[in-house]
């Protein structure tokens, strides 16, 4: 006759063994990943490769390589020519990236009337005011003229020459280094809210027309920014001081 305690211990041992065996079987059946491991198994990785490959099947892939901006919100090709490349070079040169919420909160926000001008405009003068105002910052090739993708014309009475601005509707940084028919703007836009105390007035974005007419440029631009040309801008830095120390 065995002692009662020993029989109890035996039953407990058997139950525990069966329980552990059962747990082990279940783990093996569910996954090849060892219990407690945080590393994917070979099977997980193989399945992942299948998922990754399938994800690319039928997906919309922008033309060109993955670095090519996709058409849409941050595509500046509507401005013509090398606008995307110029904006990219501008950002790289001055270490500019998509603004954060914190940055936007710190920058000065103004209502603005976003309009377009181009080298096909009848009143377009060559060289533009940008030529005289140019300080060697926005052109990648040294051409001291208005550059699509980085140049805007503003009312210098409202935005000082050389200021860095950001246009949310285009996701575009620009240097305010050109000026348009400021007096005429102020007269024709006098009733616009953008010419109120909180307004930056008209912000004329330079376009390289290419094969397009002046009116086509304006129409494309208006379709792009929408809302009947009304929008906002941020003055990131007033005046040309932001360029100091930049390569």
């Amino acid at each position: 006759m065995k002692p009662r305690g020993l029989r109890t211990f035996g039953a407990l041992f058997l139950t525990t063994s069966l329980f552990l065996l059962g747990c082990d079987d279940e783990d093996t059946a569910e996954s090849e990943t060892p219990s407690g491991s945080s590393q994917p198994s070979q099977s997980d990785l193989v399945q992942g490769m299948t998922i990754a490959t399938q994800a690319g099947t039928g997906a919309a892939i922008p033309e060109g390589d993955s670095n090519t901006p996709v058409p849409g919100y941050n595509d500046l090709s509507v401005l013509g020519g090398d606008a995307n490349q110029n904006q990219q070079a501008f950002r790289q040169r001055f270490n500019l990236s998509d603004p954060t919420q914190e940055q936007l909160a710190q920058w000065e926000e103004y209502d603005a009337r976003l309009t377009a001008y181009s080298n096909k405009d009848a009143d377009w003068q060559s060289p533009t005011a940008a030529s005289a105002n140019w300080i060697g910052t926005t052109s990648k090739n040294g051409d001291p003229l208005a550059v699509e993708g980085t140049t805007v014309a503003v009312d210098f009475n409202r935005i000082p020459r050389g200021s860095l601005i950001y246009i949310p509707a285009l996701d575009m940084y620009a240097e305010a280094n050109d000026t348009g028919a400021t007096g005429m703007w102020a007269q024709s836009d006098a009733s616009q809210t953008d010419y109120g105390a909180a307004g930056a007035g008209r912000v004329d974005v330079y376009n390289l027309a290419g094969d397009r007419s002046s009116s086509q440029v304006e129409k494309s631009f208006q379709n792009r920014v929408g809302t009947d040309e009304y929008g906002q801008i941020y003055v990131v830095s007033r005046g040309p001081g932001w360029k100091k120390g930049s390569g």
Binding site: E30, G56, P99, T100
Partner: protein
């Protein structure tokens, strides 16, 4: 179901009738200012309002580059408006919206989104398994790829819900920087009641560090629109980024999408 349901439900339903679910011509300036301030870079689309006896709710769609989401603003009588909820999808309802007394509000939100989608002629894009009117397709696009291969599916377009499902599902959490191809990457929407709102996103890590995700610029179509590095730059500081490997040999109960 507690007793308050029987008291509150009829009371709320009295005020959430067809006349109270709609699109008033004017939005209170404080409400529109809150939404604009919450995400200054987003395009804002007003969907309509739902009124209860004490609180008016205003529903907005935010679209910002690849991302789209929904914002529900609550405007209690005599108080300042605040963001009640925001995400790529409000379904399934969570937070205060999941309580039974909020059932009429849930129905009002669904009605507004249904109306909006019908107006935008997007009804055809709604998956047959989706009974709720979705705006974003972040989860659906992942499911179309992952479910036939692994048997696991999310069944939600909410980034917060997607994160929860991945954390509790047959997955392994991995460091996003070292995530292998095929991993699901998710950055949940974050918001504060007074703003800002940081819309989240979710996608599949493809080969060569590319990421495929539903892209609002293409009507929610799956698009090669991020690299892992650009995703981390975009979301890590504001939303947090999480990555999960779906474990192989997960014998899910396959159901049609």
């Amino acid at each position: 179901m507690n007793g308050s349901f029987f008291i509150l439900y009829p009371l709320l339903w009295t005020f959430i009738c067809s006349d109270a679910v709609g699109r008033p011509i004017t939005i209170p300036a404080a409400v529109s200012a809150l939404v604009q301030r919450a995400d200054p870079q987003a395009n804002v689309e007003y969907c309509g309002s739902v009124s209860t006896n004490r609180v008016d709710y205003y529903l907005f769609l935010l679209t910002r580059k690849e991302l789209t989401g929904i914002v529900l603003v609550q405007y209690p009588t005599g108080k300042a408006p605040s963001v009640a909820d925001a995400d790529t999808s409000l379904f399934p309802f969570s937070g205060f919206l999941q309580h039974s007394f909020a059932q009429p509000l849930q129905e009002g939100i669904e009605e507004l989104l249904t109306r909006r989608n019908l107006e935008k002629n997007r009804a055809a894009r709604q998956g047959i398994s989706h009974q709720v009117p979705e705006i974003s397709a972040v989860g659906r696009d992942i499911d179309h790829v992952v479910y036939p291969i692994s048997g696991f599916r999310l069944g939600s377009d909410s980034t917060r819900e997607i994160l929860r499902l991945l954390r509790t599902g047959p997955t392994l959490s991995v460091d996003p920087k070292d995530a292998p191809p095929g991993s699901i990457i998710v950055s949940p929407t974050q918001f504060y009641n007074d703003g800002p709102i940081f819309l989240g996103h979710a996608g599949i890590l493809g080969l060569d560090g590319s990421i495929y995700s539903a892209d609002a610029r293409y009507g929610g179509a799956r698009t090669k629109n991020f690299t892992l590095s650009s995703w981390l730059r975009r979301f890590s500081g504001t939303n947090g980024t999480y990555a999960f490997v779906i474990r192989a040999r997960f014998s899910g109960n396959a159901r049609g999408l």
